[in-house]
Symmetry: C2
Subunit: 228 residues, 2 copies
Amino acid sequence: MTESTASRAAPARARPRRADKAGPYHHGSLPKALLQAAETVLKRGGLRGLTLRAIAREAGVSHTAPQHHFGDTAGVLSELAAAGHRRLANEMEEQARSAAPGKPRRKATAHGYIDFAIGHPDLFRLMSRNELLDSERPSLVEARQISARALAGVFDAATKPQQEAGPFAGIGTAQAIAITAAWAYVHGLATVLVDHRLDSVARAAPDFGDARALVEAAIDSMKMVPDA
Amino acid sequence: MTESTASRAAPARARPRRADKAGPYHHGSLPKALLQAAETVLKRGGLRGLTLRAIAREAGVSHTAPQHHFGDTAGVLSELAAAGHRRLANEMEEQARSAAPGKPRRKATAHGYIDFAIGHPDLFRLMSRNELLDSERPSLVEARQISARALAGVFDAATKPQQEAGPFAGIGTAQAIAITAAWAYVHGLATVLVDHRLDSVARAAPDFGDARALVEAAIDSMKMVPDA
DNA sequence: TGTACATCAGTGAACGCGCGTTCACTGATGTAC
DNA sequence: TGTACATCAGTGAACGCGCGTTCACTGATGTAC
């Protein structure tokens, strides 16, 4: 019943506000840290556990801190999704750039898309969950254009990486169909793979160890006009 | 402070338990009614609002009633998803059957898939949300096989509608790739369409009113070997 | 035809939980003079 | 170089909400005799 309990110990510490985290009051780069924390939470527990409070907890910060920087939950998730799109674009461009000579850039790009989805399945899913995102948020709009261009650009020369008036301004009918087909095909492969819808096919087919091998074979067997 | 308040009125009613619903105590076909209610809730509020309590509320029943029949939330949603798969299969087969003579059955089947997704976008999404479903539930396993066969069967003759030892037993390498490609393509088209990822392409292309027209053109321009 | 009893179907009150939001606050930083 | 003050960054208590689960219950139905 006395007041001098153990919880009052260690009085000489400089900033005893957070017992375990001796960080400064002003974090300095909390937004970045929060996005990292969000991704950690996402990887650990999937989309179900990705809440404002869980993110703040992971970052070691009060759960109102994220609001300060991102407005609301959709704000945090939208920034995370935007980062995902930028990384997806990087992955595609990286693989296209470093592909073995003679390998079509289009197939390398498709492999980049698949590899991203496999490497970050829940982030990949988040990027499609419109009801969790603020689709108007400028950074997300922009990041989506970046990944769309990275994919479509390699399938259609008219889609320039640095196009000004929207990502697809001025395309023709045949180009629109080609982009649609390529986008749907690659995104569809990634989606059915990540969602385990191909497992039964892979199990039944003799020459494929897993669904990923099946998807990669499907990409490599794509019939397409040569790269521009 | 007296006991004879207004809440004690209407004493002569036969079954005054539920004031507004004069249904019998034993519903008779509550499971079916609950699935209908679930779909109504899904259509009205999307996946976010699809909870046990909301479903029971819609059915005019206490929120423990669904548990009695389905075990838990995942049980209800899994049955709903299973019904979705059966209806998807029906839609594909119906369109393939009633297609104009000369129209490839494969394209008609693909159109059926797309039409289902457009007609029931949230149900279509639910069917892919593994974290909400009990993927072991026999009725869901079976319904998924039915829709998989309806799609794959038309793209590969080796996948028989009534195959016994699993939906894809005995297929070869080329067949596995063909099924994977077809599945990913059709599912990808439906997904990017329903998720509004094609809107910017459709807007930029001169000859397409909306993304749906773009998707249909992408199906009709599929290059494929003739139907078996 | 009637009665007793077991089983099935659904109720409703209570619970604890984690969530996002609000709000008054305090500590840290930067700038004006 | 020092002081005052505004602004920015983060805290933590409190709130109400809807959720799924549990549990003892009651009404309806079916079956045995």
